[in-house]
């Protein structure tokens, strides 16, 4: 087993990449090793997976929708940089004000302690988001959430 294949399988075992991504990478490494190009170079697709810039939320009416139901179109693209910057800004909020924000969020049903979200936790969160891909059908609308 080559070191590249072992590295890919380790990443799959650690949950850093999905099975589909691992399959793509294995195909790429087999192509590289069978060809005459430099096999030691990492596959370019890793860079593509590792650098998502935006979270996209798309809501479109299902093409199979019949009748005169209301049709919604939503297209939201949020830069991931703004999440990091927002956490940095939120970390400067004084404790008293932070508790007030926390209580307000709890009243709205958002049960999460944002004060525990530091830079390290945020990096882990963003890394986990790299594999985020949600396709759902809600009220005859297709909802897609993914990073790009």
């Amino acid at each position: 087993m080559t070191s590249e294949r072992k590295q890919i399988l380790d990443m799959l075992a650690a949950g850093k990449i999905t099975a589909d991504e691992a399959e793509q990478l294995l195909q790429l490494t087999s192509k590289v090793s069978s060809g005459s190009s430099d096999a030691s170079a990492p596959p370019a697709v890793i860079v593509k997976i590792r650098n998502p810039r935006f979270i996209r939320i798309i809501v479109e009416p299902n093409s199979q929708t019949i009748g005169n139901q209301a049709q919604h179109h939503v297209n939201i693209r949020v830069p991931l940089k703004i999440v990091r910057a927002g956490v940095n800004l939120a970390s400067l909020i004084p404790n008293d004000a932070g508790h007030m924000v926390q209580n307000s969020l709890l009243n709205k049903g958002f049960k999460s302690d944002l004060s525990k979200l530091d830079a390290t936790a945020l990096d882990e969160l963003i890394e986990a988001l790299q594999e985020l891909s949600i396709d759902a059908t809600v009220d005859n609308h297709l909802v897609k959430v993914f990073v790009e």
Partner: protein, 87 residues
């Protein structure tokens, strides 16, 4: 980091490119006037160390504004249209 220079904003039929580049010099002048006053106020109050918190908040707010480049929100619901785009 460069802050966004323009912003597209549309509600219903009314859409406009907001010239944000006109706003930044005004905010810069405002900060140039206010920060020394805040510093003097904190010296008088004996809480100079808190001034650096103010500086950090200003810088964090600036980086958040810069990070907003690329934000896009398009919502079309029946007759309702709402769009924001920061290129």
């Amino acid at each position: 980091m460069i802050p966004p220079m323009v912003m597209w904003f549309k509600v219903q039929w009314f859409g406009i490119w907001v010239p944000l580049f006109l706003l930044w010099p005004i905010i810069l002048v405002f900060l140039a006037i206010m920060l020394p006053l805040i510093f003097i106020g904190m010296v008088i109050a004996g809480r100079v160390s808190r001034f650096w918190v103010v500086i950090r908040i200003v810088l964090a707010a600036y980086s958040t504004i810069c990070a907003a480049r690329g934000l896009r929100i398009d919502i079309h619901k029946e007759q309702t249209v709402f769009e924001i785009y920061i290129p």
